[in-house]
Symmetry: C2
Subunit: 426 residues, 2 copies
């Protein structure tokens, strides 16, 4: 798939990554010089190729599944790994959807003319080469590559060892389609070894790789954040709060709380802590609805007093991302106490207030310093698609570059263009 020599895989990880990154850089320059329409057309060809090659891809996936079963992978892991015709067509549809997204590259962010006649403007450009490190889901190979290519970036992909055959088959289809559309094949490459040292080499390839996006569990992300010398766009925890204010509509509060926790308890936008104002009219009915729906509740003393089915919360519960049908519940005395709890325990992902008092809501929206702050909505809306961004590369919980759901714009940077008529600086 790439111009590397066959013996590269046996050389040192740093040399291997440097070689791949160098060919990626050169492919990226060609990709960036293509028109936006040409990149989109190439992605449509890649989507078609994923459909055309589905038999080969599903056969490769079977090999991974067999190896996974032999290696005793959990049922959940095998499910994440597993592809069928429908899932694969969904992956192809996703690539097509990315092709149809508006291209941020070339957008003029702002411009001005100086008194000396110099005309300055800031224009969006691709970031360059993006390293994606992910675990068992083979669809990430196509999703991440498509987003990178749409915004003119090269992608260096390091998938999980469980999915190695699936990833190779998906990459082969993708790059065949992209090449047909004029995208050099080195624009999207898989790291050809499962040696963990290759990940270390990616993380320290400053100047060769421009950004790393880890997609996976907390231990992967934590390792990437601690070892990386390359800038990282990462999602760590989603310890999300929903504050039921005293002026909340009881029916709305119940609907939002049930949805925020139980629609899909395992996603990062799931509520993990419910804060109930001591002035709220119907706290017992609220917790009862959650308990009746099968949610385990862990409460502080006053919350426990609402229902005998509530377990006592430990200190750790307020800082725990359950990703399960478990919820910590605290009773708080007013807005200041709610804000203080959130400032102390939130992972700054998504925090929500439910209230019918708009001025209280505005205070909450202003003072809570999280990537996403919501009024009267379920935290499960924390998703690039729901924000109208199309696909997302991830939800960033850091503070720099991009925050919250990150899509194409987050895969670009800008440069300054200065147009003069011979000006020298006095």
């Amino acid at each position: 798939m790439t111009d590397m020599k066959p013996d590269n895989a046996s050389s040192s990880p740093d040399v291997l990554i440097a070689g791949l990154a160098k060919s990626a850089r050169s492919a990226q320059r060609q990709l960036a010089a293509m028109s936006s329409d040409a990149r989109a057309a190439a992605l449509r060809l890649a989507a078609q190729r994923l459909r055309d090659d589905s038999a080969a891809i599903l056969a490769a996936n079977q090999k991974d599944l067999e190896a996974g079963r032999a290696n005793g992978l959990s049922k959940a892991m095998l499910d994440r790994l597993s592809l069928d015709k429908e899932r694969l067509h969904g992956v192809a549809d996703g690539v097509e959807a990315v092709a149809n997204l508006p291209d941020p590259v070339g957008e003029v962010i702002d411009s001005l003319e100086r008194p000396n006649g110099l005309k300055m403007s800031r224009v969006r450009v691709p970031i360059g080469t993006i390293g994606i490190i992910y675990e068992s889901r083979p669809n990430v190979t196509a999703d991440a590559a498509a987003l990178c290519v749409r915004a003119g970036n090269a992608a260096l992909l390091r998938g999980g060892s469980e999915a190695v055959f699936s990833n190779r088959a998906i990459l082969a289809a993708l790059t065949a389609g992209l090449e047909e559309g004029g995208v050099p094949d080195a624009a999207v490459q898989l790291i050809p070894t499962q040696d963990r040292a290759a990940v270390g080499a990616m993380l320290t390839a400053a100047g060769l790789i421009d950004m790393i996006v880890p997609r996976g569990g907390k231990s992967l992300v934590a390792r990437v954040q601690s070892d990386a010398r390359v800038p990282v766009l990462a999602h760590l925890d989603g310890i999300n709060h929903t504050y039921i204010h005293s002026a909340a509509d009881a029916q709305m509060a119940k609907g939002i709380a049930l949805n925020a926790k139980l629609r899909r308890p395992g996603i990062c936008g799931s509520m993990e802590t419910l804060l109930i104002d001591s002035g709220f009219a119907e706290p017992a009915a609220l917790v009862s609805a959650l308990l009746d729906a099968g949610c385990e509740l862990r409460g502080d003393g006053r919350a426990q007093a609402l229902d005998t089915r509530i377990f006592p919360a430990s200190n750790d519960d307020w800082d725990t991302e359950y990703l399960d049908a478990i919820l910590s519940v605290s009773m708080v005395d007013g807005m200041d106490a709610a804000l203080a709890h959130i400032a102390r325990h939130s992972s700054a992902h998504t925090d929500v207030i439910v209230t019918s008092d708009d001025s209280v809501a505005e205070q909450f929206l202003t003072e809570v310093d999280s990537a996403i702050v919501m009024h009267n909505a379920s935290s499960q809306f924390a998703d690039g698609g729901e924000f109208g961004l199309g696909a997302e590369i991830g939800i960033a919980t850091g503070r720099l570059h991009a925050r919250g759901p990150v899509a194409l714009e987050g895969l670009t940077t800008y440069k300054w263009l200065v147009r003069g008529t011979g000006q020298a600086r006095p």
Copy 2:
């Protein structure tokens, strides 16, 4: 100046930095809750206080200068360290100028309404706590603190040991003025020890410090980039090219080249390599003008043939930031050769084309992937003030978050606000 206990300076660097950062975080929340006008007014009071306290600050500066002379600091170092009434008033004026800059905080970047009625908007907010690590210039204490405070950020300042008395005196005046204006004094703090381990503790204070800005020489920046776990906004090299295209006006080319190299050879926007197209009409007059003006030239074979005073360039010269009246010169055959040279050797800071052919210029502006790309202007314009940004915290040569001259906007991030009416996700 801060609420730390007096024995903190003797505890471990990590504990020290964690304590300072914790008080900074709390002060930052108060600062962010102030109105933009209130922050500006407090900065004006701080500027006034710098003027009022000039005797004390200049006396402190004398102590630093005496110690510097005793320690054998170079004349250039002593000059960077030295303050007089005029320089100090310039520092105060700078703080006032920052107060007068438009505040990016609160700006709505974009907004949309989704089909389900959810209203999303992105709003600029402060980054949080910013660590500034700098060397001998005491004016950075005031400049950097003012920029941070204007955009609602707390500043943790680590100045050079040569300027310790000056920095303390400037900080005392600054925080006195800010406090008068309602800004908590922990919003701007100096690290109270010159122990180098404190810098290491700042660099690894992920979650406590949100961004590090190193301001100083290459060795400081390189150390920060290699050791930091906190995101870094850094300026590394300024290996800037000026390409004299075949269709360049000879008079304009000469004016721009002389200015780009010799106006102030030691600034990061200074030209370091001159690329002369082999089709350019008057190359000998161009290099002659530079030589006559006292510039040392180091050329490739064809450049050397233009004038006997040109030394041969070594391979290293093409990758050297001289920061002096020295320039490397290469003859190139057309645009593609110029682009290839720049792609290989540029540090992606500022690259320039001089040409009267606008379509050639547009190609250069599009294809050169540097933070600043200029047409018919001197690279010495690479400066926040010249870009209309007011003061700058620095020029970033990285690719993420902010690129090129970084001012107030680069000291902000954003959050997503979502306003609903009870929506649950299907």
